[in-house]
Protein backbone atom coordinates (compact mmCIF):
# COMPACT_ATOMS: atom_id res chain seq x y z
CA UNK A 1 0.00 0.00 0.00
CA UNK A 2 1.14 3.55 -0.75
CA UNK A 3 2.72 4.90 2.52
CA UNK A 4 1.08 8.35 2.35
CA UNK A 5 -2.39 6.90 1.83
CA UNK A 6 -3.65 6.66 5.47
CA UNK A 7 -2.74 10.30 6.19
CA UNK A 8 -4.33 11.37 2.91
CA UNK A 9 -7.53 9.45 3.69
CA UNK A 10 -7.73 10.99 7.17
CA UNK A 11 -7.30 14.49 5.73
CA UNK A 12 -9.98 13.84 3.14
CA UNK A 13 -12.34 12.44 5.79
CA UNK A 14 -11.90 15.68 7.76
CA UNK A 15 -12.82 17.65 4.64
CA UNK A 16 -15.77 15.32 4.03
CA UNK A 17 -17.20 16.10 7.48
CA UNK A 18 -16.77 19.83 6.85
CA UNK A 19 -18.49 19.48 3.47
CA UNK A 20 -21.41 17.64 5.01
CA UNK A 21 -21.76 20.50 7.48
CA UNK A 22 -21.67 22.92 4.54
CA UNK A 23 -24.39 21.01 2.68
CA UNK A 24 -26.60 20.84 5.77
CA UNK A 25 -26.20 24.57 6.50
CA UNK A 26 -27.06 25.52 2.90
CA UNK A 27 -30.13 23.26 2.86
CA UNK A 28 -31.30 24.34 6.29
CA UNK A 29 -30.93 28.01 5.35
CA UNK A 30 -32.77 27.58 2.03
CA UNK A 31 -35.71 25.79 3.68
CA UNK A 32 -36.11 28.29 6.48
CA UNK A 33 -35.69 31.40 4.30
CA UNK A 34 -38.38 30.20 1.88
CA UNK A 35 -41.82 31.74 2.33
CA UNK A 36 -44.52 29.58 3.94
CA UNK A 37 -43.92 26.36 5.84
CA UNK A 38 -45.18 22.85 6.51
CA UNK A 39 -48.13 24.17 8.54
CA UNK A 40 -49.97 24.98 5.27
CA UNK A 41 -49.96 21.23 4.53
CA UNK A 42 -50.31 19.95 8.09
CA UNK A 43 -53.15 22.05 9.50
CA UNK A 44 -56.16 19.79 9.38
CA UNK A 45 -59.62 21.26 8.84
CA UNK A 46 -59.94 25.01 8.42
CA UNK A 47 -56.68 26.97 8.20
CA UNK A 48 -56.29 29.73 10.78
CA UNK A 49 -53.23 31.63 12.05
CA UNK A 50 -53.79 30.11 15.52
CA UNK A 51 -53.90 26.55 14.15
CA UNK A 52 -50.76 27.27 12.10
CA UNK A 53 -48.99 28.64 15.18
CA UNK A 54 -49.93 25.51 17.14
CA UNK A 55 -48.47 23.30 14.40
CA UNK A 56 -45.26 25.37 14.29
CA UNK A 57 -44.94 25.11 18.07
CA UNK A 58 -45.55 21.33 18.01
CA UNK A 59 -42.83 20.89 15.36
CA UNK A 60 -40.42 23.21 17.16
CA UNK A 61 -40.39 25.66 14.24
CA UNK A 62 -41.12 28.63 16.53
CA UNK A 63 -37.66 28.35 18.12
CA UNK A 64 -34.75 30.51 16.92
CA UNK A 65 -33.10 29.15 13.74
CA UNK A 66 -29.73 28.58 15.38
CA UNK A 67 -31.36 26.56 18.19
CA UNK A 68 -33.26 24.49 15.61
CA UNK A 69 -30.11 23.79 13.59
CA UNK A 70 -28.03 22.98 16.68
CA UNK A 71 -30.78 20.59 17.86
CA UNK A 72 -30.84 18.88 14.46
CA UNK A 73 -27.04 18.53 14.34
CA UNK A 74 -26.77 17.12 17.86
CA UNK A 75 -29.54 14.59 17.09
CA UNK A 76 -27.80 13.57 13.84
CA UNK A 77 -24.53 13.08 15.71
CA UNK A 78 -26.40 10.66 18.00
CA UNK A 79 -27.67 8.83 14.90
CA UNK A 80 -31.18 10.30 15.00
CA UNK A 81 -32.39 11.91 11.74
CA UNK A 82 -35.67 12.99 13.33
CA UNK A 83 -39.26 12.13 12.44
CA UNK A 84 -41.30 12.93 9.37
CA UNK A 85 -43.58 15.95 9.90
CA UNK A 86 -46.27 14.22 7.90
CA UNK A 87 -46.30 10.60 9.08
CA UNK A 88 -44.27 10.88 12.30
CA UNK A 89 -42.23 7.86 11.15
CA UNK A 90 -38.50 7.97 11.89
CA UNK A 91 -36.72 9.49 8.86
CA UNK A 92 -34.03 6.80 9.02
CA UNK A 93 -36.71 4.09 8.67
CA UNK A 94 -38.33 5.86 5.72
CA UNK A 95 -34.96 6.14 3.98
CA UNK A 96 -33.87 2.55 4.71
CA UNK A 97 -37.19 1.23 3.34
CA UNK A 98 -36.55 2.99 0.04
CA UNK A 99 -32.80 2.64 -0.16
CA UNK A 100 -32.90 -0.91 -1.55
CA UNK A 101 -34.85 -0.05 -4.73
CA UNK A 102 -32.68 3.04 -5.35
CA UNK A 103 -29.44 1.12 -4.86
CA UNK A 104 -30.74 -1.62 -7.16
CA UNK A 105 -31.63 0.97 -9.80
CA UNK A 106 -28.42 3.01 -9.62
CA UNK A 107 -26.07 0.02 -9.33
CA UNK A 108 -27.84 -1.70 -12.22
CA UNK A 109 -27.67 1.46 -14.32
CA UNK A 110 -23.97 1.89 -13.55
CA UNK A 111 -23.29 -1.74 -14.51
CA UNK A 112 -25.23 -1.39 -17.78
CA UNK A 113 -23.47 1.87 -18.58
CA UNK A 114 -19.97 0.48 -17.96
CA UNK A 115 -20.68 -2.85 -19.68
CA UNK A 116 -21.63 -1.04 -22.89
CA UNK A 117 -19.41 2.04 -22.65
CA UNK A 118 -16.01 0.43 -22.06
CA UNK A 119 -16.07 -2.10 -24.96
CA UNK A 120 -17.61 0.52 -27.27
CA UNK A 121 -15.06 3.14 -26.19
CA UNK A 122 -12.21 0.66 -26.75
CA UNK A 123 -13.54 -0.27 -30.20
CA UNK A 124 -13.96 3.41 -31.13
CA UNK A 125 -10.39 4.19 -30.08
CA UNK A 126 -8.72 1.11 -31.56
CA UNK A 127 -10.62 1.42 -34.85
CA UNK A 128 -10.42 5.19 -34.99
CA UNK A 129 -12.27 6.63 -37.98
CA UNK A 130 -14.13 3.35 -38.61
CA UNK A 131 -17.86 2.75 -38.42
CA UNK A 132 -17.38 1.80 -34.72
CA UNK A 133 -15.94 5.22 -34.04
CA UNK A 134 -18.90 6.87 -35.76
CA UNK A 135 -21.35 4.70 -33.78
CA UNK A 136 -19.50 5.54 -30.56
CA UNK A 137 -19.58 9.30 -31.27
CA UNK A 138 -23.27 9.16 -32.13
CA UNK A 139 -24.10 7.15 -29.00
CA UNK A 140 -22.19 9.54 -26.74
CA UNK A 141 -23.72 12.66 -28.32
CA UNK A 142 -27.24 11.22 -28.26
CA UNK A 143 -26.79 10.03 -24.68
CA UNK A 144 -25.95 13.47 -23.31
CA UNK A 145 -28.80 15.04 -25.30
CA UNK A 146 -31.67 12.74 -24.22
CA UNK A 147 -33.96 13.97 -21.45
CA UNK A 148 -33.99 10.88 -19.20
CA UNK A 149 -37.71 11.14 -18.42
CA UNK A 150 -38.56 11.22 -22.13
CA UNK A 151 -36.27 8.30 -22.93
CA UNK A 152 -38.09 6.38 -20.18
CA UNK A 153 -41.49 7.26 -21.63
CA UNK A 154 -40.39 6.27 -25.13
CA UNK A 155 -39.15 2.90 -23.81
CA UNK A 156 -42.54 2.41 -22.12
CA UNK A 157 -44.25 3.35 -25.40
CA UNK A 158 -42.18 0.79 -27.31
CA UNK A 159 -41.84 -2.12 -24.88
CA UNK A 160 -44.99 -1.84 -22.76
CA UNK A 161 -47.58 -0.30 -25.08
CA UNK A 162 -46.71 -1.02 -28.73
CA UNK A 163 -45.00 -4.33 -27.98
CA UNK A 164 -46.14 -5.42 -24.51
CA UNK A 165 -43.03 -7.25 -23.35
CA UNK A 166 -42.19 -5.50 -20.09
CA UNK A 167 -44.17 -3.85 -17.27
CA UNK A 168 -44.25 -0.02 -17.41
CA UNK A 169 -44.08 0.79 -13.69
CA UNK A 170 -43.59 -0.36 -10.11
CA UNK A 171 -41.10 -2.64 -8.38
CA UNK A 172 -43.05 -5.87 -8.96
CA UNK A 173 -46.60 -7.12 -9.49
CA UNK A 174 -48.89 -6.64 -6.52
CA UNK A 175 -48.59 -9.60 -4.15
CA UNK A 176 -45.47 -10.93 -5.92
CA UNK A 177 -42.90 -8.74 -4.17
CA UNK A 178 -40.67 -11.73 -3.41
CA UNK A 179 -40.72 -13.06 -6.98
CA UNK A 180 -37.26 -12.44 -8.47
CA UNK A 181 -38.42 -12.81 -12.09
CA UNK A 182 -41.18 -10.26 -11.61
CA UNK A 183 -38.75 -7.82 -9.95
CA UNK A 184 -36.17 -8.28 -12.70
CA UNK A 185 -38.76 -7.70 -15.45
CA UNK A 186 -39.88 -4.50 -13.71
CA UNK A 187 -36.28 -3.35 -13.36
CA UNK A 188 -35.34 -3.62 -17.05
CA UNK A 189 -36.82 -0.36 -18.38
CA UNK A 190 -35.84 1.98 -15.51
CA UNK A 191 -32.32 0.49 -15.37
CA UNK A 192 -31.89 0.86 -19.14
CA UNK A 193 -33.17 4.45 -19.03
CA UNK A 194 -30.75 5.54 -16.34
CA UNK A 195 -27.89 3.43 -17.70
CA UNK A 196 -28.12 4.66 -21.29
CA UNK A 197 -27.98 8.29 -20.15
CA UNK A 198 -24.88 7.61 -18.02
CA UNK A 199 -23.19 5.54 -20.71
CA UNK A 200 -22.48 8.51 -22.96
CA UNK A 201 -19.84 10.23 -20.85
CA UNK A 202 -18.16 6.93 -19.87
CA UNK A 203 -17.83 5.96 -23.52
CA UNK A 204 -16.44 9.32 -24.51
CA UNK A 205 -13.81 9.26 -21.78
CA UNK A 206 -12.80 5.64 -22.43
CA UNK A 207 -12.22 6.51 -26.09
CA UNK A 208 -10.26 9.73 -25.56
CA UNK A 209 -8.23 8.31 -22.70
CA UNK A 210 -7.33 5.13 -24.61
CA UNK A 211 -6.37 7.16 -27.69
CA UNK A 212 -3.96 9.17 -25.58
CA UNK A 213 -2.42 6.07 -23.99
CA UNK A 214 -2.09 4.27 -27.33
CA UNK A 215 0.25 7.05 -28.49
CA UNK A 216 2.66 6.56 -25.56
CA UNK A 217 6.18 5.17 -25.91
CA UNK A 218 5.62 2.11 -23.73
CA UNK A 219 2.80 0.96 -26.00
CA UNK A 220 5.12 1.25 -29.00
CA UNK A 221 7.72 -0.71 -27.02
CA UNK A 222 5.18 -3.41 -26.18
CA UNK A 223 4.22 -3.66 -29.83
CA UNK A 224 7.90 -3.67 -30.89
CA UNK A 225 8.49 -6.59 -28.51
CA UNK A 226 6.04 -8.46 -30.68
CA UNK A 227 3.11 -8.58 -28.26
CA UNK A 228 -0.23 -9.18 -29.93
CA UNK A 229 -2.63 -6.30 -30.32
CA UNK A 230 -5.30 -7.62 -27.91
CA UNK A 231 -2.69 -8.14 -25.18
CA UNK A 232 -1.25 -4.64 -25.67
CA UNK A 233 -4.68 -3.06 -25.58
CA UNK A 234 -6.26 -4.96 -22.70
CA UNK A 235 -3.19 -5.55 -20.54
CA UNK A 236 -1.10 -2.42 -21.09
CA UNK A 237 -3.22 0.36 -22.54
CA UNK A 238 -6.66 -0.06 -21.01
CA UNK A 239 -5.40 -0.32 -17.44
CA UNK A 240 -3.84 3.14 -17.71
CA UNK A 241 -6.66 4.51 -19.81
CA UNK A 242 -9.16 3.57 -17.09
CA UNK A 243 -7.86 6.18 -14.62
CA UNK A 244 -9.80 9.13 -16.09
CA UNK A 245 -12.78 6.80 -16.56
CA UNK A 246 -12.74 5.98 -12.84
CA UNK A 247 -12.76 9.74 -12.13
CA UNK A 248 -15.72 10.24 -14.42
CA UNK A 249 -17.60 7.37 -12.78
CA UNK A 250 -16.97 8.96 -9.37
CA UNK A 251 -17.93 12.43 -10.54
CA UNK A 252 -21.03 11.16 -12.30
CA UNK A 253 -22.68 10.00 -9.06
CA UNK A 254 -24.56 13.27 -8.43
CA UNK A 255 -25.93 13.05 -11.99
CA UNK A 256 -26.78 9.39 -11.46
CA UNK A 257 -28.68 10.11 -8.25
CA UNK A 258 -30.34 13.18 -9.81
CA UNK A 259 -31.31 11.08 -12.81
CA UNK A 260 -32.75 8.48 -10.42
CA UNK A 261 -35.23 11.12 -9.13
CA UNK A 262 -36.74 11.53 -12.60
CA UNK A 263 -36.47 7.85 -13.52
CA UNK A 264 -38.21 6.81 -10.28
CA UNK A 265 -40.97 9.34 -10.99
CA UNK A 266 -41.51 8.09 -14.57
CA UNK A 267 -41.58 4.41 -13.55
CA UNK A 268 -43.36 4.84 -10.17
CA UNK A 269 -40.27 3.22 -8.64
CA UNK A 270 -40.54 3.35 -4.83
CA UNK A 271 -37.05 4.71 -4.13
CA UNK A 272 -35.35 7.53 -2.26
CA UNK A 273 -35.85 9.91 -5.22
CA UNK A 274 -39.63 9.67 -5.02
CA UNK A 275 -39.44 10.02 -1.25
CA UNK A 276 -37.49 13.26 -1.74
CA UNK A 277 -39.91 14.64 -4.35
CA UNK A 278 -42.90 13.93 -2.07
CA UNK A 279 -41.11 15.46 0.94
CA UNK A 280 -40.28 18.63 -0.98
CA UNK A 281 -43.88 19.16 -2.06
CA UNK A 282 -45.12 18.53 1.49
CA UNK A 283 -42.34 20.60 3.10
CA UNK A 284 -41.35 17.67 5.24
CA UNK A 285 -38.08 19.30 6.41
CA UNK A 286 -36.61 16.36 8.38
CA UNK A 287 -37.08 14.00 5.42
CA UNK A 288 -35.57 16.54 2.97
CA UNK A 289 -32.57 17.07 5.28
CA UNK A 290 -32.14 13.32 5.89
CA UNK A 291 -32.28 12.33 2.22
CA UNK A 292 -29.91 15.08 1.14
CA UNK A 293 -27.44 14.35 3.91
CA UNK A 294 -27.41 10.71 2.87
CA UNK A 295 -26.99 11.52 -0.82
CA UNK A 296 -24.21 14.04 -0.13
CA UNK A 297 -22.45 11.52 2.13
CA UNK A 298 -22.65 8.85 -0.58
CA UNK A 299 -21.30 11.25 -3.22
CA UNK A 300 -18.45 12.48 -1.02
CA UNK A 301 -17.51 8.93 0.01
CA UNK A 302 -17.60 7.80 -3.61
CA UNK A 303 -15.24 10.62 -4.59
CA UNK A 304 -12.88 9.61 -1.82
CA UNK A 305 -13.00 5.95 -2.90
CA UNK A 306 -12.34 7.09 -6.47
CA UNK A 307 -9.13 8.80 -5.36
CA UNK A 308 -8.05 5.74 -3.39
CA UNK A 309 -8.83 3.51 -6.37
CA UNK A 310 -6.24 5.46 -8.42
CA UNK A 311 -3.55 4.04 -6.20
CA UNK A 312 -4.45 0.48 -7.12
CA UNK A 313 -5.04 1.15 -10.80
CA UNK A 314 -1.88 3.20 -11.26
CA UNK A 315 0.91 2.55 -8.73
CA UNK A 316 2.79 5.65 -10.00
CA UNK A 317 0.29 7.88 -8.19
CA UNK A 318 1.58 8.97 -4.82
CA UNK A 319 -0.27 10.59 -1.94
CA UNK A 320 2.74 11.38 0.17
Amino acid sequence: MEPGLPAYVLKRLGFAVLMLFGVSIILFAIMRVAPGGPEAVLVGGEFSPEAAARVRQRLGLDRPLVTQYAGWVSAVLRGDLGRSFKTNDPVATLIVERLGPTLQLTAGALAVALAVAIPLGVLAAVRRGSVWDTIGSAVSLFGVSFPSFWLGIMLILLFSEAWPLLPPSGLSEYGREGDVTSRLRHAVLPTLTLGLIQMASFMRFTRSSLLEVLGQDYIRTARAKGLGSPRVIWRHALRNALIPVVTVVGLSLPTLVGGAVLTETVFAWPGVGRLAVGAVFERDYPVIMGVNLLVAAVVITANLLTDIAYCFIDPRISYS
Binding site: M19, A34, F142, P147, W150, S208, T255, V261, V291, I300
Partner: protein, 284 residues
Protein backbone atom coordinates in the same frame (compact mmCIF):
# COMPACT_ATOMS: atom_id res chain seq x y z
CA UNK B 1 -2.70 39.69 -26.11
CA UNK B 2 -4.87 37.11 -27.75
CA UNK B 3 -4.27 33.48 -28.59
CA UNK B 4 -6.51 33.34 -31.65
CA UNK B 5 -5.44 35.19 -34.75
CA UNK B 6 -8.87 36.58 -35.64
CA UNK B 7 -12.59 35.92 -35.49
CA UNK B 8 -13.26 35.70 -39.28
CA UNK B 9 -10.97 32.73 -39.77
CA UNK B 10 -12.54 30.93 -36.80
CA UNK B 11 -15.98 31.61 -38.27
CA UNK B 12 -14.81 30.35 -41.65
CA UNK B 13 -13.51 27.16 -40.02
CA UNK B 14 -16.83 26.69 -38.24
CA UNK B 15 -18.64 26.89 -41.60
CA UNK B 16 -16.40 24.07 -42.81
CA UNK B 17 -16.97 21.95 -39.67
CA UNK B 18 -19.86 19.74 -40.73
CA UNK B 19 -21.30 18.80 -37.34
CA UNK B 20 -20.68 22.23 -35.83
CA UNK B 21 -22.27 23.91 -38.86
CA UNK B 22 -25.42 21.79 -38.77
CA UNK B 23 -25.62 22.15 -35.00
CA UNK B 24 -25.41 25.92 -35.46
CA UNK B 25 -28.11 25.86 -38.14
CA UNK B 26 -30.42 23.83 -35.87
CA UNK B 27 -29.74 26.20 -32.96
CA UNK B 28 -30.56 29.17 -35.21
CA UNK B 29 -33.79 27.51 -36.37
CA UNK B 30 -34.84 26.85 -32.75
CA UNK B 31 -34.06 30.40 -31.67
CA UNK B 32 -35.93 31.91 -34.65
CA UNK B 33 -38.87 29.57 -33.97
CA UNK B 34 -39.02 30.70 -30.35
CA UNK B 35 -38.77 34.39 -31.23
CA UNK B 36 -41.38 34.19 -33.99
CA UNK B 37 -43.72 31.81 -32.10
CA UNK B 38 -46.72 34.20 -32.13
CA UNK B 39 -46.38 34.65 -35.91
CA UNK B 40 -45.63 31.11 -37.02
CA UNK B 41 -47.71 28.94 -34.65
CA UNK B 42 -50.76 27.86 -36.71
CA UNK B 43 -53.10 27.90 -33.68
CA UNK B 44 -53.22 29.45 -30.23
CA UNK B 45 -51.37 27.38 -27.63
CA UNK B 46 -54.42 27.47 -25.34
CA UNK B 47 -57.31 27.16 -27.81
CA UNK B 48 -59.28 24.09 -26.71
CA UNK B 49 -61.71 22.04 -28.77
CA UNK B 50 -63.16 18.96 -27.12
CA UNK B 51 -64.43 17.76 -30.50
CA UNK B 52 -60.84 17.74 -31.72
CA UNK B 53 -59.27 16.01 -28.71
CA UNK B 54 -56.64 13.27 -29.19
CA UNK B 55 -56.57 13.63 -32.97
CA UNK B 56 -53.56 11.90 -34.57
CA UNK B 57 -51.19 13.87 -36.84
CA UNK B 58 -53.07 15.05 -39.95
CA UNK B 59 -52.88 17.91 -42.49
CA UNK B 60 -55.09 20.01 -40.15
CA UNK B 61 -52.91 19.32 -37.09
CA UNK B 62 -49.46 18.26 -38.25
CA UNK B 63 -48.43 16.88 -34.85
CA UNK B 64 -51.95 15.95 -33.71
CA UNK B 65 -53.93 17.34 -30.76
CA UNK B 66 -53.75 16.75 -27.00
CA UNK B 67 -56.34 15.74 -24.38
CA UNK B 68 -57.96 19.20 -24.53
CA UNK B 69 -57.96 19.32 -28.32
CA UNK B 70 -55.07 21.81 -28.40
CA UNK B 71 -52.71 21.76 -31.38
CA UNK B 72 -49.48 19.96 -30.39
CA UNK B 73 -47.40 21.73 -33.07
CA UNK B 74 -48.44 25.19 -31.86
CA UNK B 75 -47.76 24.26 -28.25
CA UNK B 76 -44.37 22.77 -29.18
CA UNK B 77 -43.47 26.01 -30.99
CA UNK B 78 -44.54 28.10 -27.98
CA UNK B 79 -42.79 25.67 -25.65
CA UNK B 80 -39.47 26.52 -27.30
CA UNK B 81 -39.82 30.07 -25.92
CA UNK B 82 -39.99 28.95 -22.30
CA UNK B 83 -37.14 26.46 -22.63
CA UNK B 84 -34.85 28.85 -24.51
CA UNK B 85 -35.62 31.84 -22.27
CA UNK B 86 -34.90 29.93 -19.06
CA UNK B 87 -31.91 28.18 -20.65
CA UNK B 88 -30.40 31.45 -21.85
CA UNK B 89 -30.99 33.36 -18.62
CA UNK B 90 -29.64 30.53 -16.46
CA UNK B 91 -26.59 30.11 -18.71
CA UNK B 92 -25.74 33.83 -18.63
CA UNK B 93 -26.07 33.93 -14.83
CA UNK B 94 -24.07 30.76 -14.39
CA UNK B 95 -21.32 31.98 -16.72
CA UNK B 96 -21.06 35.40 -15.06
CA UNK B 97 -20.86 33.95 -11.55
CA UNK B 98 -18.69 30.97 -12.55
CA UNK B 99 -16.26 33.11 -14.55
CA UNK B 100 -15.93 35.79 -11.85
CA UNK B 101 -15.47 33.29 -9.04
CA UNK B 102 -13.29 30.88 -11.04
CA UNK B 103 -10.98 33.56 -12.43
CA UNK B 104 -10.57 35.24 -9.04
CA UNK B 105 -9.85 31.85 -7.45
CA UNK B 106 -7.30 30.82 -10.09
CA UNK B 107 -5.62 34.22 -10.32
CA UNK B 108 -5.37 35.00 -6.60
CA UNK B 109 -4.54 31.42 -5.56
CA UNK B 110 -3.52 30.45 -2.01
CA UNK B 111 -6.06 30.34 0.80
CA UNK B 112 -8.70 32.25 -1.22
CA UNK B 113 -8.48 29.63 -3.96
CA UNK B 114 -8.77 26.77 -1.46
CA UNK B 115 -11.76 28.38 0.30
CA UNK B 116 -13.62 29.08 -2.96
CA UNK B 117 -12.98 25.62 -4.32
CA UNK B 118 -14.24 23.97 -1.11
CA UNK B 119 -17.48 25.97 -1.44
CA UNK B 120 -17.70 24.80 -5.07
CA UNK B 121 -17.15 21.21 -3.84
CA UNK B 122 -20.13 21.56 -1.50
CA UNK B 123 -22.34 22.61 -4.44
CA UNK B 124 -20.93 19.78 -6.57
CA UNK B 125 -21.66 17.16 -3.94
CA UNK B 126 -25.41 17.76 -3.81
CA UNK B 127 -27.12 16.34 -6.89
CA UNK B 128 -28.15 19.39 -8.91
CA UNK B 129 -31.71 18.27 -9.46
CA UNK B 130 -32.25 17.75 -5.70
CA UNK B 131 -31.16 21.28 -4.87
CA UNK B 132 -33.12 22.83 -7.73
CA UNK B 133 -36.18 20.83 -6.78
CA UNK B 134 -36.01 22.03 -3.18
CA UNK B 135 -35.50 25.69 -4.05
CA UNK B 136 -38.12 25.88 -6.81
CA UNK B 137 -40.71 23.97 -4.75
CA UNK B 138 -40.15 26.23 -1.74
CA UNK B 139 -39.77 29.60 -3.47
CA UNK B 140 -42.26 28.99 -6.27
CA UNK B 141 -41.82 28.33 -9.97
CA UNK B 142 -41.31 31.39 -12.14
CA UNK B 143 -39.06 32.09 -15.09
CA UNK B 144 -36.62 34.12 -12.97
CA UNK B 145 -36.68 31.76 -9.97
CA UNK B 146 -36.09 28.72 -12.13
CA UNK B 147 -33.24 30.37 -14.06
CA UNK B 148 -31.67 31.67 -10.83
CA UNK B 149 -31.72 28.30 -9.19
CA UNK B 150 -30.37 26.46 -12.24
CA UNK B 151 -27.52 28.98 -12.21
CA UNK B 152 -27.04 28.28 -8.49
CA UNK B 153 -26.13 24.68 -9.25
CA UNK B 154 -24.31 25.13 -12.55
CA UNK B 155 -21.86 27.90 -11.59
CA UNK B 156 -19.54 25.52 -9.72
CA UNK B 157 -18.43 23.38 -12.72
CA UNK B 158 -17.94 26.60 -14.76
CA UNK B 159 -15.85 28.09 -11.94
CA UNK B 160 -13.68 24.95 -11.83
CA UNK B 161 -13.00 25.02 -15.57
CA UNK B 162 -12.28 28.77 -15.67
CA UNK B 163 -10.09 28.45 -12.57
CA UNK B 164 -7.91 25.74 -14.08
CA UNK B 165 -7.51 27.79 -17.27
CA UNK B 166 -6.57 30.90 -15.25
CA UNK B 167 -4.14 28.89 -13.12
CA UNK B 168 -2.22 27.89 -16.22
CA UNK B 169 -2.50 31.33 -17.85
CA UNK B 170 -1.22 33.31 -14.86
CA UNK B 171 2.12 31.48 -15.07
CA UNK B 172 2.61 32.44 -18.73
CA UNK B 173 5.30 34.88 -19.86
CA UNK B 174 2.91 37.50 -21.24
CA UNK B 175 1.25 37.79 -17.82
CA UNK B 176 4.65 38.26 -16.15
CA UNK B 177 5.48 40.83 -18.82
CA UNK B 178 2.26 42.74 -18.12
CA UNK B 179 3.16 42.70 -14.42
CA UNK B 180 6.63 44.03 -15.15
CA UNK B 181 5.14 46.82 -17.25
CA UNK B 182 3.16 47.93 -14.20
CA UNK B 183 -0.32 46.69 -15.14
CA UNK B 184 -2.70 46.34 -12.18
CA UNK B 185 -4.37 43.09 -11.15
CA UNK B 186 -7.77 44.10 -12.58
CA UNK B 187 -6.22 44.89 -15.96
CA UNK B 188 -4.16 41.71 -16.05
CA UNK B 189 -7.15 39.59 -15.07
CA UNK B 190 -9.55 41.30 -17.48
CA UNK B 191 -7.37 42.04 -20.49
CA UNK B 192 -4.86 39.23 -20.42
CA UNK B 193 -6.07 36.25 -18.43
CA UNK B 194 -9.84 36.31 -19.06
CA UNK B 195 -9.47 37.29 -22.70
CA UNK B 196 -7.28 34.26 -23.25
CA UNK B 197 -9.64 32.05 -21.28
CA UNK B 198 -12.45 33.15 -23.62
CA UNK B 199 -12.30 30.07 -25.90
CA UNK B 200 -12.96 27.81 -22.91
CA UNK B 201 -15.80 30.07 -21.75
CA UNK B 202 -17.42 30.21 -25.21
CA UNK B 203 -17.34 26.43 -25.58
CA UNK B 204 -18.76 26.10 -22.07
CA UNK B 205 -21.65 28.41 -23.02
CA UNK B 206 -22.93 26.08 -25.70
CA UNK B 207 -22.64 22.98 -23.51
CA UNK B 208 -24.30 24.80 -20.60
CA UNK B 209 -27.23 25.91 -22.74
CA UNK B 210 -27.95 22.28 -23.56
CA UNK B 211 -27.66 21.29 -19.90
CA UNK B 212 -29.88 24.08 -18.60
CA UNK B 213 -32.58 23.21 -21.15
CA UNK B 214 -32.43 19.58 -19.97
CA UNK B 215 -32.69 20.66 -16.32
CA UNK B 216 -35.61 22.98 -17.06
CA UNK B 217 -37.46 20.24 -18.91
CA UNK B 218 -36.91 17.86 -15.97
CA UNK B 219 -38.32 20.46 -13.57
CA UNK B 220 -41.32 21.00 -15.83
CA UNK B 221 -41.83 17.25 -15.88
CA UNK B 222 -42.01 17.27 -12.08
CA UNK B 223 -44.56 20.11 -12.25
CA UNK B 224 -42.10 22.81 -11.19
CA UNK B 225 -41.51 24.59 -14.49
CA UNK B 226 -43.82 26.76 -16.54
CA UNK B 227 -47.36 26.49 -15.20
CA UNK B 228 -50.33 25.48 -17.40
CA UNK B 229 -51.78 26.60 -19.73
CA UNK B 230 -48.38 28.08 -20.76
CA UNK B 231 -46.70 25.18 -22.55
CA UNK B 232 -43.17 24.04 -21.88
CA UNK B 233 -41.75 20.92 -23.47
CA UNK B 234 -41.45 19.19 -20.09
CA UNK B 235 -45.06 19.80 -19.00
CA UNK B 236 -46.30 18.71 -22.45
CA UNK B 237 -44.47 15.38 -22.05
CA UNK B 238 -46.02 14.83 -18.61
CA UNK B 239 -49.49 15.63 -20.01
CA UNK B 240 -48.86 13.14 -22.80
CA UNK B 241 -47.77 10.41 -20.36
CA UNK B 242 -51.38 9.66 -19.37
CA UNK B 243 -52.44 9.21 -23.02
CA UNK B 244 -49.43 7.10 -24.01
CA UNK B 245 -51.53 4.05 -24.92
CA UNK B 246 -54.00 5.97 -27.10
CA UNK B 247 -52.17 9.12 -28.28
CA UNK B 248 -48.39 8.55 -28.56
CA UNK B 249 -47.82 11.88 -30.35
CA UNK B 250 -48.56 14.10 -27.33
CA UNK B 251 -45.50 13.00 -25.35
CA UNK B 252 -43.32 12.13 -28.33
CA UNK B 253 -42.99 15.43 -30.23
CA UNK B 254 -42.21 17.84 -27.37
CA UNK B 255 -39.63 15.33 -26.06
CA UNK B 256 -38.15 15.13 -29.54
CA UNK B 257 -37.94 18.94 -29.56
CA UNK B 258 -35.93 18.88 -26.30
CA UNK B 259 -33.66 16.18 -27.69
CA UNK B 260 -33.03 17.96 -31.00
CA UNK B 261 -32.38 21.32 -29.30
CA UNK B 262 -29.93 19.89 -26.75
CA UNK B 263 -28.25 17.82 -29.48
CA UNK B 264 -27.92 20.97 -31.61
CA UNK B 265 -26.26 22.89 -28.77
CA UNK B 266 -23.90 19.97 -28.11
CA UNK B 267 -22.97 19.66 -31.80
CA UNK B 268 -22.46 23.41 -32.03
CA UNK B 269 -20.35 23.31 -28.85
CA UNK B 270 -18.22 20.48 -30.27
CA UNK B 271 -17.74 22.48 -33.47
CA UNK B 272 -16.76 25.60 -31.55
CA UNK B 273 -14.30 23.63 -29.43
CA UNK B 274 -12.62 22.08 -32.46
CA UNK B 275 -12.45 25.40 -34.28
CA UNK B 276 -11.51 27.75 -31.45
CA UNK B 277 -9.14 25.55 -29.53
CA UNK B 278 -8.29 22.15 -31.01
CA UNK B 279 -6.06 21.42 -28.00
CA UNK B 280 -9.18 21.14 -25.85
CA UNK B 281 -10.44 18.29 -27.99
CA UNK B 282 -7.98 15.86 -26.47
CA UNK B 283 -9.03 16.78 -22.96
CA UNK B 284 -12.66 15.77 -23.25
Amino acid sequence: MSRSSGAPSAFGRLLGHRRGFWGGVAVAVMVVTGVLAPAIAPHSYSAQSLLQRLQPPSPAHWLGTDGFGRDVLSRTIWGSRVSLQIGLLATVLSLVVGTLVGSASGYVGGATDTAIMRVADVFLSVPALFLILIVVALFGASLTNTALVIALVTWAPVARIVRSECLSLRARDFVHAAHALGAGHARILGRHVLLNALPVIIVQTSVLLGQTILIESGLSYLGLGAQPPLPSWGNMVVEGRQFLASAWWIATFPGLAIFVTVLAFNLFGDGLRDVIDPALRAET
